[in-house]
Amino acid sequence: MENKNKVKKELTVDQQISRRNFISFGVFGVMAFAVYEGWQWLYHTPKEVRGVTAGAKEPLRRALNKTELAFRNFFSNNHLVKTYPKERAAKNVRVNSNIGLKGKFIIEDWKLNVTKANGETMQVTIDQIKALPKTEIVYDFKCVEGWDQIQHWGGLKMIDFMEHFNLVDQTKMSYVGMMTPDKGYQVGLDMPSAIHPQTILAYEMNGQPIPGNHGAPLRLIIPVKYGIKNLKRIGSITFSNTRPPDYWAREGYDYYSGL
């Protein structure tokens, strides 16, 4: 803030005051205007081009994706979701949505369609899944809306499923995609989250077979993600190195949605 031009005459106090006021208020005004314009630009910027993700303003989507990369560094299989005793689990389990469950569905005809990255397919029945060791978890289910509920689920660990059905090579892929049989609801999961030790393909809720509105006969319980990723009534599982379709990521939500 000192005078750099020493050749010039020294300014009087009043001159110094007005000079500094001019500069600082000038900069302040310019910056305030720039911030206002910047905000106007961001607020009115068009939404991203519709693809695997949609519905978010383009710069905000980029920020979400960058933020995902930053927080993926903190993900670890050693970071387990807190669990609770069974008595704490809610008896009246909240149903928040039935997207993907609306069409006609014959539970007896259900088979899980698995497609490997190379296109090989396989079908798995609910009895094959139930024959494998069951894992139970009582944890705090968290919705992106802000509510949460302690719930009790039982089923087959995703990693156990992959090991048993010779899908271990597929864990080298980056993503797992799941869809309801009517393809109306889809989730895309990064592989580390999908094979986290607490991720299960659930067929029991509170020790009973899952009711229809909770995703019978088989649903995903992935405690390291928000509820939006916990797909009900799994129809198909796929593996890929690109992001699989994801219902809520096309509605402006973060693709990762990890906890």
Binding site: I17, M31, L60, A63, L64, F74, V144, W147, V224, G252
Partner: protein
């Protein structure tokens, strides 16, 4: 005689004004998020005094049904909020200006005297340097609150990866409430801050933009009178 007295450093002024729009956006986008599960109210003995927030408030600010948008804004500007805060704190620590800011032992007693003076109950205000006792407490508290928002925010945002933070906050529910209460705190701080700035006047306000205050001092005699016998 007018004299220029330096008051606020350039960095303090920048971080102060950069924080203003960022915090405004954080509070606004936070409300977009909170709306989708607006469970808080002030309830005593079964009587609800205030629900956060009334429908008219939501409608007036065009808040309903914008959760995804709120999250997208919140998770971009959280970075800017954090970076700006870290820059300020590092500067304050390194420059030593924390000494003018952090409350002293006497500040807590003196703050009452400042308050009584501000309310025109007491005539004399205690002597002060850059900040008076009440300002020391308030301006330090707001920095601690900012840090608290980061911690409680992280505790809600990644309760699995940062479960220790969530635990420190007293759990997921407690962290969300704390995050909310801190935000209410900012709004209350803002109201008092604006009133105080208006009351303090132009010279004080200008110093947060230009960095200096103008003080009138008595001119000193140019020649010190010599004493006899020396």
């Amino acid at each position: 005689m007018k004299v220029i007295k330096e008051k606020h450093s350039l960095l303090m002024r920048w971080t102060h004004w950069v924080n203003f729009p960022i915090l405004t956006i954080m509070i606004w986008s936070g409300m977009l998020i909170y709306w989708s599960s607006d469970t808080y109210s002030i309830t005593l003995f079964g009587h609800t005094f205030y629900k956060f927030f009334p429908q008219g408030f939501y409608n007036a600010l065009n808040i309903p049904g914008r959760l995804a948008e709120g999250m997208a804004f919140h998770f971009l500007f959280m970075w800017l909020f954090a970076i700006n805060g870290v820059v300020y704190i590092l500067y304050t620590l390194i420059s030593g200006s924390w000494r003018e800011l952090v409350p002293q032992r006497k500040s807590f007693k003196e703050a009452w005297l400042v308050l009584l003076h501000d309310l025109h109950i007491r005539k004399m205000a205690p002597l002060q340097n850059k900040y008076n006792a009440a300002q020391r407490i308030a301006y330090t508290a707001i920095i601690v609150m900012g840090f608290g928002s980061l911690i409680t925010g992280l505790a809600i945002y990644k309760p699995v990866q940062f479960s220790t933070l969530t635990w420190l906050c007293g759990g997921y529910h407690a962290a969300r409430i704390e995050h909310f209460v801190l935000t209410i705190g900012y709004v209350l701080f803002f109201i008092i801050h604006i009133v105080q700035v208006i009351l303090a006047g132009w010279n004080n306000f200008r110093s947060v933009i230009s960095g200096f205050e103008v003080v009138n001092t008595k001119p000193k005699p140019a020649i010190e009178p010599q004493k006899d016998g020396e």
